[in-house]
Symmetry: C2
Subunit: 336 residues, 2 copies
């Protein structure tokens, strides 16, 4: 089996062979048990949290990860942004006939390895195959089940308050820049690598430090600009960023200058924005910095009154203040 | 907005407009609340059950339903086959640029209407757009969360026992035949219509009647032949079917004869196979027949010893006995 054929998608023996020989071993769930379409899990201690995320990134592999890396991190991070601990994943694949099996195996191995490393079980899956020219390699749709521990109030936009401090756990735009370089065929740009990473460890660190986390958001498609505009609108506030405090790697900044991109609009896959009370900001910053994913954490801005209009503003390095534009249309298609 | 553009898939304002104006109203979840990537649900009374299913059917609409109908029924049925009550769904869309918005709205309305009707909440979603020629209209990947009520033992292939009776809730092959007719452009074949339907009501009826349900399986891709071969192999038994007892509609039988298809290999989307102890068979049959989806329920066969080789056999109308072939390769691609 070197490439995927349409017959691998039918409900027959070739389909079973694809699962047994490729998909399940790569995901690390080849335990020989009967293949079921669903799984019964242990009772939860807390409220269930459910999410889904679809991935159509091109190319399928890039510096710092693959569509499999994104599928794990994106789903776990959606759970973490609600304060939930990730427990289980499901994996849905739509494969284009003709896909190289070695490439499929590689991206699923990325997903499976992260799941094992972080103790998240892959409990159910589905594999479909479509004709050549009706798909694009492989699309991955994951769903995630997490649990909100008893007594923990879920972070929510409605809890954002004037005076809150906005923290970010590291440099902005790495994932978007990595995709730009991958599409340009610049594999030599080793200094630009996707930041794809699961964020639930950072979130647990905030709670363990006793921080009253008001709201969390992972700035993926549309970047920090889109994430903060959505939150400013939902919460009816203005969010005032400080450009000098926003971490951006030199190589990413150079990529943006060259191509006319805005690092605030570039996708991130391992970053979170945390809204916390000003009194908790120092403790929160220390908690983030105590984790590998938060070594470069910074205070990105503050929440101000949103009247007459909720806005996102930026104090520039030159001391001026400008409105941060909300992304319109497609900056980089199929970034995740 | 008449057709989907690539910009509708970016994380910007056009993406938000697609969600607010099309996706959310069609799914019936346009409550004006902030769009979150995940949802916190109420605590479960029982063990969580998680599943996922992907849908790539062509055409997107057919007699008896659409890709939206299948997405609801397929996911709910995967939960029901483990004895779970469906609670919540997630919906992931991969849309091809150029898709007619009215068609997208129609198939999502099918999904949303079934969810409302059956009290299953759509709690999270994801929408991606790919270029023309990189997808095929829309692919839908759903995940489902259900609960196994306390005290209920989940049905499982390992519980199948020699002597068990196999029940089916109605006529076979309707969905596969409906897709065949839809592809041939025969919309006049009104007597052939997909059986797509949620099956959790039937499953609850079995438990309410006190039946000790050993195993449940929905014979989708690959039909009854594939489903029973998988179970015979997993349980190490032979399953002996009785052709005269298997319900097949005349129009479906005629379609199969004309095209050389086997109704045992045709997909169903509203059928279940239930393995129950012989002592419970009469009660189980009555329970199925008490429900609209089970009016034509029948005893399809029995479980026999699987040595030396697990098999699926069929006693033909002429009184002979033949081995039912396991589907190999692709009979009807993209049936669901």
């Amino acid at each position: 089996m070197r490439t995927i054929a349409l017959s691998h998608g039918a409900g027959g023996s070739e389909h079973a062979e694809l699962l047994r020989r490729v998909v399940l071993p790569a995901l690390g769930i080849d335990d020989g048990a009967p293949l079921l379409d669903a799984a019964v899990l242990s009772e939860l201690d807390g409220r269930p949290v459910l999410t889904t995320d679809g991935f159509v990134v091109q190319p399928l592999r890039f510096a710092g990860g693959s569509i499999g890396t994104l599928a794990f991190c994106g789903t776990v991070n959606d759970l973490a942004m609600l304060g939930a601990r990730p427990l289980a994943l499901t994996v849905g694949l739509v494969i284009e006939a003709g896909l190289d099996v070695a490439l499929l195996r590689a991206v699923l191995c990325d997903l499976g390895a992260l799941a094992r490393q972080h103790g998240v079980r892959i409990v159910a899956g589905d594999t479909k195959v479509v004709e050549r020219g009706k798909g694009d390699g492989v699309f991955v749709t994951t769903a995630g089940l997490g649990v909100l521990p008893p007594g923990r109030v879920a972070p929510h936009p409605s809890r954002i308050a004037v005076g809150d401090v906005v923290l970010v756990n590291g440099a902005l735009g790495d994932h978007g820049a990595a995709i730009v370089h991958a599409r340009a065929g610049r594999s030599d740009a080793a200094e630009v690598s996707s930041d794809a990473a699961p964020l639930h460890g950072l979130v647990e660190a905030l709670y363990a430090a006793g921080v009253d986390v008001h709201c969390l958001r992972d700035p993926t498609r549309g970047g920090v600009a889109e994430a903060l505009h959505g939150l400013a609108h939902d919460a009816g506030v203005t969010i005032a960023l400080d450009e000098a405090a926003l971490p951006v790697r030199p190589a990413v900044a150079a990529t943006c200058e060259l191509l006319g991109l805005d690092p605030l609009q570039l996708a991130n896959e391992g970053k979170l924005l945390a809204f916390v009370p000003a009194d908790d900001a120092a403790v929160a910053l220390a908690a983030l910095r105590s984790q590998p994913q938060g070594a470069d954490a910074a205070i990105a801005g503050v929440v101000a009154d949103g009247s007459p209009l909720p806005l996102v503003t930026l104090r520039t390095r030159l001391g001026g203040r400008r409105v941060v534009a909300r992304p319109v249309g497609e900056q980089l298609p199929r970034i995740c």
